[in-house]
């Protein structure tokens, strides 16, 4: 496995990011720790954030063998200075802020114009508290696949990924998380989709002491589309939370979001989604669905799919369900000869498989 990012970061000098870290730490102090009273964290048990994980060794971003087409390099500070300074002042998301204040490693993934590429990067945080920033640039007409794997031990990982998908290009992302019960992962992705570009993004989460994924999607030109699917399977005392914002900045854009949670024992999961359709973004086509399967009475699901529509001619839908495996589905399978246990298992597997079947390169 190649540690491209580490080696390359050294090339920019050890202090390249020191000013940024200081500014971000100041911003973090200003913003403070989130609580349930914070609108964006209302479903999250924030208590784990109050204590600092024990320091530990060897965090790293590594590129798995078999990558094709993508160029990898450290992020050039000059390239992102203005963008990040602005973003740091605008955001109040503590996960994002910590990705800068605790910045350990950066990686720039670039898919050149009209190229095709595949790359699997693993962000490994066995211990401690570390931030990572990844910049993904998909240039015009390129077609890329990307696997982002988060391996988090008894640690806190804060990741920020900026994704720019240029005109006529296509990006497929598969995002998976592994790790132990003590894992804390605050991931953020800021995704900008240009004219006639297409993003397909699929995530699978196992939760931890606190796992929260935040996606901020902007469809900025006509023909842009985003198809997002997420699955959290949590058990024990784990929690996993999905916070998703999709902005149809302009008309003739399309987005789909399907988020599913399977919750066992006393675990908890939430979905907080919002589709924003800007004024004049006519002929936007958006759908946001969240389904939760509660396998045990002690589990908890919170869901809030929302629409914020400012255009006149829009096709938009949203919905959510929370429940046990559907009796009608189980009965239907039983009338075909499957015993009730097999039917129940099949329905539960099917609930997850609708998302898992979208993975092509990894099998979470």
């Amino acid at each position: 496995m190649a540690h491209v990012a580490n080696a390359a970061n050294a090339a920019h000098g050890a202090d390249s990011w020191e000013a940024l870290r200081r500014d971000a730490a100041a911003r973090a102090a200003t913003v403070g720790l989130p609580t349930r009273a914070s609108e964006a964290w209302r479903y999250v048990d924030c208590e784990p954030l109050a204590s600092e994980p024990a320091p530990a060794s060897a965090p790293a971003i590594a590129i798995r063998p078999g990558a094709t087409g993508w160029k990898t390099a450290p992020i050039d500070p000059a390239q992102v200075r203005e963008r990040w300074t602005k973003a740091l002042q605008e955001t109040s998301d503590i996960g994002q802020i910590w990705s800068w204040s605790r910045l350990h490693e950066t990686l720039h993934l670039q898919l050149p114009k009209s190229a095709q590429g595949y790359l699997h990067c693993r962000i490994d945080t066995p211990g401690g508290w570390h931030g990572y920033r990844i910049l993904v640039s998909v240039e015009r007409g390129a077609v890329g696949s990307l696997v982002i794997e988060y391996a988090v031990g008894a640690a806190r990982a804060c990741t920020g990924i900026d994704v720019d998908v240029a005109q006529g290009s296509s990006l497929t992302v598969e995002e998976i998380q592994s790790g132990d019960d003590a894992a804390q992962l605050l991931s953020s992705a800021n995704i900008t989709v240009d004219r006639d570009a297409q993003v397909t993004w699929t995530s699978a989460w196992r939760g931890g002491t606190l796992v929260r994924a935040r996606q901020d999607v902007r469809l900025t030109a006509s023909g842009a589309s985003m198809d997002f699917a997420g699955l959290a399977r949590v058990a024990g005392k784990r929690q996993a939370h999905q916070y998703l914002r999709v902005a149809h900045v302009i008309g003739d854009t399309r987005s789909r979001q399907l988020v599913k949670n399977v919750i066992d024992d006393t675990a908890r999961a939430s979905f907080d989604g919002l589709i924003h359709v800007a004024k004049g973004a006519d002929r936007s086509d958006a759908e946001q669905l969240n389904h939760n399967l509660l396998l045990a009475p002690g589990g908890r699901a919170d869901t809030r799919p929302q629409l914020d529509i400012h255009a006149d001619e829009v096709k938009a839908a949203h919905g959510a369900t929370v429940g046990r495996p559907e009796d009608e589905q189980i009965t239907y399978l039983r009338t075909r000869g499957l015993d009730s246990e097999t039917a129940r298992t099949l329905v539960q597997q099917g609930f997850s498989d609708e998302i898992l079947h979208r993975f092509r390169h990894v099998h979470p």
């Binding site: 589905q329 000869g337 097999t342």
Partner: protein, 246 residues
């Protein structure tokens, strides 16, 4: 083959069936008609063992045994098939794999060896061709995102794969355009055999023009109000239920 005697059933606290008597012999096709709310679908679901319905009185004998003592899966593996009026969507469950599991459940009940995916595929391909369905439906999730007509045709596909001895088809003709209706009727006629029986629940004569029933029954208020040959269906089509039941 199937004998129903004084069958009473309710859902929650509401009585729906109020004394059904019916005998179906091997090789026969019976049509059950009746106004909305008369108990047609309930009768089909009670025969199939749907757990939402409680039988409060009466009996159903299937091949000489007490059918009501069996859970739905044993009724299915024993040869009873219910084609649902509203087939249920089961996202994430592959149609072909589901059919193989259901087919194997029936084989297992007969003491036959279960088929592996590769062994089952040719049979499924044949049945899909016969049902005039696109092969892609085999690889889609069970009924998920299917149109109403596609769901009904998928029910017929399941019936032809599972080869039950008694098929209960609950308004399989509703929501079909004329071409789809002919395809479904062809499927039922191909399935029809001397060692099988069919109960067709329908509102309309048009299916019975294509699948000729041996007997026609009219349900009203949870009982069979009148029975006859297929000319009864023609009278209903011409004069309506009220005239026939008067």
């Amino acid at each position: 083959m199937l004998t129903i005697t004084n069958l009473h059933a309710r859902v929650d606290d509401t009585p729906i069936l109020n004394g059904i008597d019916l005998h179906i012999a091997t090789g026969e096709v019976h049509a059950i008609m009746g106004p909305n709310g008369s108990g047609k679908s309930t009768l089909a679901k009670v025969i199939a063992g749907h757990p939402a319905y409680t039988v409060t009185e009466g009996s159903i004998t299937w091949k000489g045994a007490d059918l009501l003592a069996l859970p739905p899966e044993e009724r299915a593996t024993g040869g009873i098939f219910l084609g649902f009026q509203y087939p249920v969507e089961v996202p994430g469950v592959n149609n072909a794999e589901f059919l193989r599991l259901a087919y194997n459940a029936r084989r297992k009940a007969r003491g036959e060896a279960e088929l592996k995916t590769a062994e089952f595929a040719p049979l499924l391909a044949t049945r899909i061709r016969q049902a005039k369905m696109d092969v892609v439906f085999a690889e889609r999730d069970l009924n998920a995102g299917f149109s109403g007509g596609q769901k009904k045709r998928n029910e017929i596909l399941q019936m032809t794969v599972l080869e039950p001895e008694l098929a209960l088809l609950d308004e399989t003709d509703s929501g079909l355009d004329i071409d789809a209706l002919k395809i479904v009727a062809d499927g039922i006629n191909t399935f029809r055999r001397a060692d099988r029986a069919i109960i067709l629940i329908t509102h309309y004569q048009r299916l019975l023009d294509l699948v000729r029933p041996d007997r026609v029954h009219v349900l009203a208020k949870g009982r069979i109000a009148t029975s006859g040959d297929r000319t009864l269906a023609e009278r209903i089509e011409a004069d309506g239920f009220e005239a026939v039941l008067a």
